[in-house]
């Protein structure tokens, strides 16, 4: 969409007149916040990840890069599982969220605001409580499990290795379900704002130009909603790959995610250097994955 951007020349004169003081003063609180609570901790975490020692005698910075090798060799499967879960959950939220966002944006009429509030409604409850509720939803004696058993879906899930023991809880399936549920609003809201802006006359035009329903979606609607898809998938994938509550509450020893490993290394094993190295690997892998993804999606072309 075209915005009326003031010309470069006009901006320059405005800058020259007002100087840099005002923006700096306005930015100062945020900059200070970032320095104290992000830059400094990141540096200290980086230093910690290269230390050796133990909790009783203290840790010293020895540039011990072996910590990273240890972290990767011992926990690569948890890394892989985390990104796998996050990817599946992201695709799941996209599949559930896209029709929902479309419906709210173009078909809900006067219920639009109410439906948007309902999308955000789960946030009114605590994240832990919401996840714990899934223990009850997926419990062996509950209606969901009964339905899955009656329809034979449990057998299907078991055959693909997502559940065990003819139940739903404490399985890959339960963890992924929890992730999808918890992150669905983060997908729906950006999708909604992209889809809502979409000019439906373009869909008419595509039909007029011989596009059938399938092509109307893939050639016009989907590319025009890509900005929403990209921000929705990022907002889902990034926190989902670092999440550890869902797998802790709904999973078993076979569903351990990297967040859980970091949690136990920091708080129970007290191996700070290893925990710090794990955190750094997680952060850098996410940056690399996301960077590659955004490049591939080419969002700057789309706005």
């Amino acid at each position: 969409m075209a915005f009326a951007v003031p010309s470069r020349g006009a901006r320059r004169t405005a800058k020259a007149r007002r100087g840099f003081a005002t923006p700096l003063i306005l930015l100062a609180p945020a900059l200070l916040w970032l320095i104290v609570f992000f830059i400094v901790p990141t540096i200290s975490l980086a230093s910690q990840s290269l230390q050796t020692g133990d909790i009783d005698n203290g840790y010293v910075l020895t540039w011990h890069f072996q910590n990273y090798a240890d972290a990767l060799s011992r926990y690569w499967s948890q890394f892989a599982r985390s990104f796998g879960y996050a990817a599946i959950a992201t695709i799941g939220t996209l599949i559930l969220g896209y029709p929902l966002a479309w419906f709210i944006a173009h078909r809900s009429g006067r219920f639009k605001t109410m439906l948007l509030v309902l999308v955000v409604a789960p946030f009114f409850t605590n994240f832990l409580i919401r996840t714990l509720a899934w223990l009850i939803i997926l419990t062996d004696s509950g209606p969901v499990t009964a339905f899955f058993r009656a329809t034979g879906l449990t057998n299907l899930l078991q055959a693909v290795g997502l559940t065990d023991n003819n139940s739903l809880l404490f399985s890959h399936f339960a963890v992924i379900s929890g992730l999808i549920y918890n992150f669905l609003p983060f997908m729906v809201l950006p999708l909604y704002s992209s889809i809502e802006r979409l000019d439906l006359r373009l869909v008419d035009a595509a039909g007029d130009l011989y596009a059938n329903g399938w092509n109307k979606f893939w050639k016009v609607i989907w590319p025009l909603s890509l900005p929403g898809v990209v921000s929705g998938t990022l907002l889902t994938f990034i926190p989902a790959s670092g999440d550890y509550i869902n797998s802790k509450l709904l999973g078993n020893t076979q569903t351990v995610m990297i967040g859980q490993v970091i949690d136990s290394q920091f708080l129970r094993v007290l191996n700070y250097p290893l925990a710090a190295a794990l955190s750094f690997i997680l952060m850098i892998s996410i940056i690399v994955l996301v960077g590659a993804y955004v490049r591939a999606a080419g969002t700057e072309e789309l706005v």
């Binding site: 006359r201 035009a205 039909g207 007029d208 050639k219 016009v220």
Partner: protein, 365 residues
């Protein structure tokens, strides 16, 4: 019959008893229309008269409540938009913002699985003189250029009928004039049937071979622009296409092959062939402002005359427009070309005259 054979045989559009209602509101109220192949046809009317709804039904974007639509020999009433060999130039242009110009123009060809679509798309862009913009995005083009891209995107598919929905509405006056001539040129070059929806009577008259004037979901009158202008059938058409002075009259015998019309105590002569057949009540005599002359009271060359007082004078350069108040309080509009003849002053008593061949008669409203 093969696809190409049907395409060759058609291009002619026929609407039969077409109706579209929305709940209680009747947008299109039984339209019958024959648009011959290769013609430039205009649907003209004020906003809300149902012209755009009619167009959208032909495009397949709207479903008729009743009636049939034929494209050549085929009944296309129940086919989907993408199954009709009909393309539309939308009022908003509706160019795909994520595609560059050449991909916009080639969109339809690719959907139709036309081999080697790119040269065809480029040829269409050349037709609208935008070949050098092929790689740009729609937002980098001006409104007039976007309009031409929308046109190229539609005609490149060689539709049987091209629909234009107020295509020039968003352009400024000068650009609109240029595009009117441009559209006319392109139409005669490609020979596709054009159906042009507009509320601008000048635009319709400039471009179309045939105009259908629509009002409240119905076709009020159909004909060539000059026929509609010189012989409007209803007061609505008389005033929608240009301005008219209307005088109610009653028939009062004949003289010398002309009908005597009695109006406000004056007797005017009217050509009998202008009287609508059958209607003898509520007749009105119409005279266009440019057909009236300011004459001297002694000049007897024009037989139809009436006297009044000039109540307003406005000079527009090419002409002077007067409002002349009649004794029965009606204000008559007169346009006097700037040809050096004497101008009247405000408050002056003047005589208006016209030739019986220059007036027309409309039935009751």
């Amino acid at each position: 019959m093969s696809e190409t054979a049907t395409r060759k045989a058609s291009g002619e559009l026929r609407l039969v008893e077409l109706v579209r209602t929305y709940d209680e509101f009747v947008a299109v109220d039984g339209i019958d229309l024959d648009v011959p192949a290769g013609s430039f046809f205009a649907l003209l009317g004020p906003s809300g008269c149902g012209k755009t709804t009619t167009l959208r039904m032909v495009a397949g974007l709207e479903t008729p409540t009743a009636g049939r639509i034929f494209l050549g020999p085929n009944d296309i009433t129940n086919t989907r938009a993408h199954q009709r060999r009909v393309n539309t130039v939308f009022q908003s242009y509706a160019l795909f913002p994520h595609l560059n110009i050449i991909d916009n123009v080639g969109f339809g060809l690719r959907q139709l699985k036309v081999d080697n679509w790119k040269p065809k798309a480029m040829a269409a862009l050349e037709l609208v003189k935008l070949a050098d913009r092929a790689k740009q995005k729609p937002r980098q083009l001006s409104g007039g250029m976007q309009q031409r891209v929308a046109l190229a995107r539609a005609i490149v598919n060689e539709p049987e009928v091209l629909l234009l929905d107020e295509p020039l509405g968003a352009l400024d006056l000068q650009l609109r004039r240029e595009m009117q001539i441009e559209l006319k040129r392109i139409q005669s070059e490609v020979g596709i049937t054009f159906i042009h929806v507009t509320h601008d009577q000048e635009e319709a008259m400039t471009m179309a071979d045939t105009i259908a004037v629509m009002r409240a979901g119905r076709i009020e009158q159909l004909g060539a622009p000059s026929d509609l202008y010189d012989r409007p059938a209803t007061p609505f058409v008389a005033n929608f296409l240009g301005q008219s002075n209307l005088l109610p009259f009653a028939i009062d015998g004949q003289t010398g092959g002309l009908v005597k019309a009695l109006s406000h105590g004056h007797t005017f002569l009217v050509r009998p062939d202008q009287l609508p057949s059958g209607v003898l009540e509520g007749l009105q005599l119409g005279i266009r402002p440019e057909k009236l002359r300011l004459v001297s009271s002694s000049d007897r060359t024009l037989t139809n005359r009436m006297d009044g007082v000039v109540s307003d004078v406005s000079f527009t350069g090419v002409a002077t427009t007067y409002l002349v108040r009649m004794p029965w309080d009606q204000e008559i509009t007169v346009t006097q070309p700037n040809d050096g003849s004497n101008r009247a002053r405000l408050g002056e008593q003047v005589t208006l005259g016209w030739d019986p061949h220059h007036s027309f008669v409309v039935g009751a409203s």
